[in-house]
Subunit: 211 residues, 2 copies
DNA sequence: AATGTATGTTACCGGTCAGTCACAAATGAA
DNA sequence: TTCATTTGTGACTGACCGGTAACATACATT
């Protein structure tokens, strides 16, 4: 429906032409993550994006739709991080697991550099949404549940590939560590909380499942 | 200020006399936990408690004050659970740790019995509050941070007492498991999620820190 | 019966929320 | 120029929010 014949200019991908919708969306992602979904109104999003509410509703049918898109974008970004972390060790699932937990602190506790203060971590965007959204919201609840299920499957698969005894239990245990890291990250600044121990803990669990 | 000379009747503790405030508070705890803090208005609390908004504001100076009291009550209840779990094994810190994780599933995934559907677990009330409250709210943020710090200290202390190598790391790792259990409990019904593996994981970590 | 306290009732305030309308301005292609 | 599309603007609705005021009722103690 939207977009239509926008490719009339000779340029390959007409870089940054319909900027408004993108600016709104990027701003919304930032604000939702930083302040929570319920705490951020569409007016605030539009203003922060340098536009107004009417342009917002010309780009998104409702706030709920925007939230759904926000969650899907967070999921996409997280899997992108995941794939980048394990890519250098293709074919070596044990090294991939170690790489994941080595990279984890960089994800959950980003250093000042390149962070621009805006990504000061506030846990998992998807799980946080599960706290805020109404339990009868199938749409959003389903997105979160599917996402967490994928994470669980990936960890269990890696646990299986390294030949762990009881790979389901190992995968689940590693997932608990990651989720716990996020959850505690909400109340302990930087890596001052128990999240600092996650790497040791993961190695300990992996090792004891291989012995 | 309130209450005053309420003990004029001969009865020892004048059971259930000033009911209104208590009804409001109990109702608020239920609703806050089940639906989230921002999602529950004072009108809804008052109605559900069988009273009205005016009686609410005669008992509580503001919603924020009620929320603070709610958080402190949740903290109190959690430590009560904790103390009851370890009490039978006084002097045996290893047994206490095992008892904690044995009891954990009963806390985070209460069985149908005696649950009355109202306690269907939605994670840690304190951590959930950290998702919802504004980051500039020192009052509420402080309550959550202090609570989580106490939990961390207790686990590290137990880890020290069992003679773990690197007791800080073990305590933190066990805390990550617990927090991860709560966080995932938000999206996986009952014990269908990775939380089911928490007991094995805890034993595994403890054992590898003792070997 | 008289009095004081706890509670209920109704209406209201100012503010914010999501969402819509009508209209003006900018833009860009023909 | 002309015309269509996109964007900006301000006002608006209806609902809900936290919080307050004024007044009426119930009840227990004396």
């Amino acid at each position: 429906m939207a977009v239509k014949v926008l490719a009339e200019t000779g340029k390959v991908e007409d870089a940054g032409k319909p900027r408004v919708r993108d600016r709104i969306f990027d701003t919304a992602c930032e604000l939702f993550y930083k302040h929570g979904i319920r705490a951020v109104g569409v007016d605030a999003i539009a203003n922060e994006a340098g536009t107004n509410k009417m342009s917002f509703y010309r780009s998104f049918p409702s706030k709920d739709e925007l939230v759904a898109e926000y969650l899907r974008e967070q999921e996409r970004g997280y899997f992108e991080w995941w794939d980048a972390a394990i890519a250098p060790h293709a074919g070596d699932p044990l090294a991939q697991l170690h790489a994941l937990f080595n990279a984890y602190l960089g994800l959950a506790c980003p250093k000042a550099e390149a962070d621009m203060d805006c990504r000061t971590s506030r846990g998992c965007a998807l799980a946080n949404a599960a706290v805020e959204i109404a339990e009868d919201n199938r749409e959003l609840g389903g997105i979160v549940h599917e996402y967490k299920t994928k994470i669980r499957r990936r960890l269990r698969k890696l646990a299986r590939e390294i030949g762990a005894r009881d790979p389901e239990a190992l995968g689940d245990a590693l997932m608990l560590l990651m989720e716990g890291g996020y959850y505690t990250r909400l109340t302990f600044p930087n890596n001052s909380g128990p999240i600092a121990a996650i790497n040791k803990a993961a190695r300990s669990l992996i090792e004891s499942h291989l012995r």
